[in-house]
Symmetry: C2
Subunit: 380 residues, 2 copies
């Protein structure tokens, strides 16, 4: 990119580097995502989520003793305070959308703890976010929240909070791979909101609450529901091509394809496609997986035919939807589940920004008039 | 300022213009603040707070009918939902600091309303913020919150929420002048956080909740408590000079003097000084006011003597503290009261950013390693 004057308005701050970070690198031109030094495909399907959180916070994988201690700390902090659950109950009575309830609950999630201990607040948020999501879903369904089981791993604990039952190992593993895949992703809008908030020497809970609020918006990305809806609507392989041709010729956008950053294949899509293949094979019913694969290949072929050279590739939403559906999560839990995973990155960015200890405070350019004079109410 | 490459890291985004706005202009070099076209000194002591909110949202002062309708809408929305008050009750039981409780309550303040109506959410936040502050202060003191009186003006209603009594007219007017003075102030960190959050097409409540979280941090500015503490410690005019000399010679910063933006006198300080003079004179006890004036003049004189050419001037905190103390607000309510006033600007920036409908999403520069390889737990 070229040079520009420091005091020029940069719409959307596009191209402006607002932070240096050791947490993740998004290389859209080459289709690479590095998470704390690891290519995402090296890390996501092997690590537990606790290892990824530890890695992001401490820049090293934990040894056996460190991991045991870390899992114990997280497990002990899982139960949200009663006031937080009461708030979810009130939100469920009003049928508040899940992301809004999650933002409210995140803000009240550490009411029982002093938030001037950044590290402990971060631990509590990571520990409690899945319990809050599970509790709210149960309340919406007219069920009571379940008490967390301290002996379970993170992904298992999330599914237990939703269902009250211990999940099948392959489903917990698939969920864990998903959470690892979305744990951090450069300077997206929610992560940036978190860094701006904590840059005033505010606290981790304030920052993560703001981040949930930003993630909630439909321009943020990471809302994978619609991608799978297309697969369901198509229903059988033979219908894929005529259906997709009709969509493209009508000028509709195909959900699940193309990404504002990745110009080649999103590396997270590969990780999630492999995890989905394993999950559906282990479950012994690969019908939906094969249909999705066929829809994807047909879409890629048709996009190249209709929009040659644009190189529109499958994005993370497509396989996210397939994977989360295979795990048994309903569509309305896709964005909350993304939130659970991204809490790892948000808290890590908070701790990093906190160490930097510099306020993020850009300028604005005034476009209004300057010399208005007061007119009393009677004369208006 | 000079030219620089678009992809250079700009620490703190200093000097980067992140938004165009018609809402306010901060001219630090000339000591000017324009609020929606009006010099702050033209507007602050004349307008009601409702007029300033209307002006910020609609870019024009309301006529009699518009103002009547606007005040009615605000008054009808004053009462926060029960779940929001329950949350404050739980926070008070834990002795949560006021700004943290305010952030929690802001997030739950519109639980009874659909938040996809931006304008109504903004109205509800402006209407309820002072009621929430008042309710929390009362709960901390072991009192029950009072029901809002729909017939009162905004500033009166705030004081009624705190005390349960109708305030003296001169105190309500002084408070209103303060709220108007701090209603908006360019692209500070909390306003920027609000704009980043709503830029994803999230909602006004998410954005304002994030802004409260940012304002809570001590680097944000606007925490006026310590400036008055100095005046109280000095206690009498004769002690001012030796006390301040000792502070300056010990290398301590004098709270209430100097501002990162204003290089000459902060124009808000003049407005608040005049309001404080009126208030203390009307109350018939000008002792503290005169002492504060003497402390200020002595401090300015000594700062010029010890730090010649730095031109350190009285900032907004000094007279804020004097004014809010005169109104009868305890120190711990100074930042919450600032929050009530700034909610006008936050909501206005949200509505402005929403119309722009462009995501704010800068980049980050990765500083970590790139090719770490997985090591199984047993081998670490």
């Amino acid at each position: 990119m070229g040079e520009r004057s420091a005091n020029t308005f940069v719409p959307g701050l596009e191209g402006v580097v607002a932070a240096e970070t050791r947490l993740s690198k998004v290389d859209g031109a080459n289709g690479e995502l590095i998470v704390a030094g690891f290519p995402v495909e090296e890390l996501a399907s092997r690590a537990t989520f606790e290892e990824v959180v530890y890695l992001l916070w401490h820049d090293t994988l934990p040894d056996r003793r460190q991991l045991g201690e870390f899992k114990k700390e997280l497990a002990e902090l899982r139960q949200p305070p009663a006031a937080c659950l009461d708030l979810l109950r009130a939100a469920a009575a009003e049928r508040v959308p899940a992301m809004e309830a999650l933002r409210m609950a995140a803000g009240a999630a550490t009411l029982d703890l002093a938030t001037d201990d950044d590290h402990r607040a971060a631990l509590a948020l990571v520990a409690r976010m899945p319990v809050i999501v599970g509790a709210y879903q149960r309340l919406l369904e007219g069920e009571e929240p379940v008490e967390p089981e301290s002996g379970m791993g993170y992904a298992e604990g999330y599914m237990y909070a939703l269902t009250g039952e211990e999940p099948a190992a392959e489903k917990a593993r698939a969920l864990e791979t998903y959470l690892n895949t979305v744990a951090d992703h450069g300077m997206n809008a929610s992560t940036f909101a978190a860094r701006v908030i904590i840059s005033t020497r505010s606290d981790v809970v304030s920052a993560v609450t703001g981040a949930v609020g930003a993630l909630k918006g439909p321009l943020h990305g990471g809302a994978p529901g619609p991608a799978l809806d297309v697969v369901f609507e198509i229903g059988e392989k033979a219908r894929a091509e005529p259906y997709l041709r009709e969509k493209i010729e009508a000028g509709e956008r195909l959900m699940g394809f193309g990404h504002r950053v990745y110009k080649v294949r999103d590396p997270r899509a590969d990780v999630l496609a492999a995890a989905a293949e394993r999950l559906y094979k282990e479950a012994g019913d690969t019908g939906l997986y094969e249909l999705a694969l066929h829809v994807e290949q047909t879409a890629i072929k048709l996009l190249e035919e209709y929009k040659p050279g644009r190189n529109l590739q499958t994005n993370v939403e497509f396989y996210t939807a397939l994977l989360l559906h295979g795990i048994g999560l309903p569509t309305e839990l896709f964005t909350p589940t993304f939130t659970v995973g991204r809490t790892a990155g948000w808290t890590a960015h908070c701790l990093e920004q906190r160490d930097l200890d510099r306020i993020i405070r850009p300028q604005s350019a005034y476009t209004g008039p300057e010399n208005r004079r007061w007119v009393p109410l009677e004369e208006r």
